[in-house]
Structures are given as C-alpha cells and as structure tokens.
Amino acid sequence: MGRTTLSEPEKTPPASAQPSAAAESPSNDPVDERDEEQASRALLSGLSSVSPPRDLAQSVPALIHRRSQGRFFGRKSLADRLPLEWISLVMLLVLAVTYAVLKLLFTD
C-alpha cells in the first residue's frame, strides 16, 4: 500500500525511550526550561507549513452522509426538534380552547 510512518519498527526501540541518567528530569530552573523551549522551537520553526486537502470541509460531511445513509443530517420530526414541554403546553391550550368553544355552542 505504500503507507508509511517515520518510525521503523524493526529497529531497536527509539533512543528517546532510553534516556541517559543526565537527561532523566528537567531542570527546576524556569530560566533553563524557557531556554530549552526556545531552542527547541527555533529548531522546529524551520519546518514548512502544510496545507490540508482543499476539499476536506466537503469530504467530511459527505463521508458522514455515506456512512449514515443520509440519516445523520436527516430532517428530524417535530417532536425531535421542539422541546416536549412546549408541545404539551400547546396541546393543553388547544384542548382548553376546543372545550370553551364547544361549551359556548351547546349551552344557552
């Protein structure tokens, strides 16, 4: 397939996993720590920036569509989109109005 990482699995574990005694712990001096960080950032600042694929913002939702067979972004029913309490209140209101109208119609 040709996919690779930088790691080479058949070699002995990376040297970074086997620190020397002197490298065991960082200095407690914040100035030393800051200097070390600045030196490391200077080394890494030379790495070129990399751009993501141009169509990533489209390919991700498309992938979700495909895997969910359109269900993930599917239109939800009214009951799923509105809070249940609101629906209950509206139904109670409708019942109350219906009762009031019927009472008016069938009484003198």
């Binding site: 397939m1 690779t4 990482t5 790691s7 030379g46 990399v50 751009s51 993501p52 913002a57």
Partner: protein
C-alpha cells in the same frame, strides 16, 4: 474562536446543522492536519486520519459538555487517533520511503534548481537565500523531520503540541491526561533527543 462563537457552533453541531459541520472543519483543519502530518510523516495517512478525526468529533458532539474548549477536545481526538494509527502501522511494518523523505528530497532538488533569491520555508526564515543556503535549509528540514519520526508517539505528540502548536501545559494535560510533571519530563527528554539527533547530522 471566542467563547460565544464556539458555544453557538457547538449548539448548531448538536442540532445537526450541516453548515456548522463545514464551518467547524474549515476553522480547525489547518491545525489538525498539520499535527497529524507531523505525527504520521505521511500526507496520505494524515488526509485519511483528518477525516476520521472530524467524523469522530461529530459523532460524539452530543457528549461535549463545554468543560474544555472545542479545539482542545479536537486535539485530544487527533492525538489519540494518530497514536493508534502509528501503532497499527508499526505492527504492519511498512518499510517504504515516507512522503517526508521524498518531499525533503524534492525540496532540496527544487531549491537547488531554482537558485537564489527565492523565499523558501526551507531556508529557516531567511529570505533571498543563496542556492547553497536553500539546499542546506531543505536538508536541515529533512533531518528535523526524520528526528521527530524517531521519537516514540507520546514524546512526539508532546513535542508537537508544545513546541509547534504552542499549547499551554494546562491544555496539554487536558489533551493527554498526563500529569503536568510527566508532560514536562517527557518533553525534556524529547527535546534533548531531538537536539542530539540533529547535531549528529549537522556537524
């Protein structure tokens, strides 16, 4: 992204607003892809995994409670995915040349061919570099990238999160779940190793 905009975005994501998904990817794709590329050393792998990272985010968006920033949560997903992918690829024992090796060589060849006066990342920030300086810059970039690849996945992620992405220790603790002291000591070892490895090839 400020807190209010982020809250609004999360709310729209949780309502399955497809435009919110597109906006979320556009907002974070540069950082996430950059991290994955440096972790995996392959553009193809990074592309593949970037999609998976965002799909994971969207599938689990309902469980996001706002205890951390959305970006921090996304970094956590990206770091976990990339560590798993590295372990998986290591098990499969791929030996082909990496994209980074090829890109470094192409960059060296291109810079050497195009000559001086070209502003190039590979000259470590120096504009109008001479051809020999451009070539040296590209070589150094290749050396740095290879050295990063020699770190184990945990040290690699810590180095990239702190020294490339410039995240705070607090954010790194949230992302990795490691205590701050452990983060600092592993970072220290990673930096020493990187420096030694680069010195070996630049003397």
């Amino acid at each position: 992204m400020d807190d209010r905009r982020e809250e609004e975005l999360v709310r729209r994501l949780q309502q399955r607003d497809e435009r919110a998904f597109v906006e979320c990817v556009r907002t974070y794709q540069d950082k996430i892809f950059g991290l994955l590329y440096r972790m995996l050393g392959s553009r193809e792998e990074a592309q593949d995994l970037a999609q998976e990272v965002f799909v994971t985010l969207f599938k689990s968006i309902d469980s996001f409670r706002g205890d951390s920033k959305l970006g921090t949560w996304l970094y956590r997903i990206a770091v976990n995915h990339s560590k798993n992918r590295i372990k998986y690829l290591r098990r499969r024992a791929h030996k082909a040349k990496t994209d980074l090796d090829e890109a470094a060589e192409r960059a060296m060849y291109r810079d050497a061919q195009e000559g001086g006066g070209k502003t190039s990342h590979s000259t470590l920030g120096q504009a109008d570099a001479r051809p020999d300086e451009a070539l040296a810059g590209a070589q150094l970039e290749g050396i740095v990238q290879r050295a990063i690849g020699l770190l184990d996945e945990e040290q690699r992620s810590l180095l990239l999160l702190r020294d490339v992405e410039a995240l705070s220790y607090e954010e790194i603790v949230e992302i990795t779940g490691l205590p701050e002291g452990t983060v600092k000591s592993r970072l220290h070892r990673a930096r020493l190793f990187l420096k030694a490895e680069i010195s070996k090839h630049t003397k």
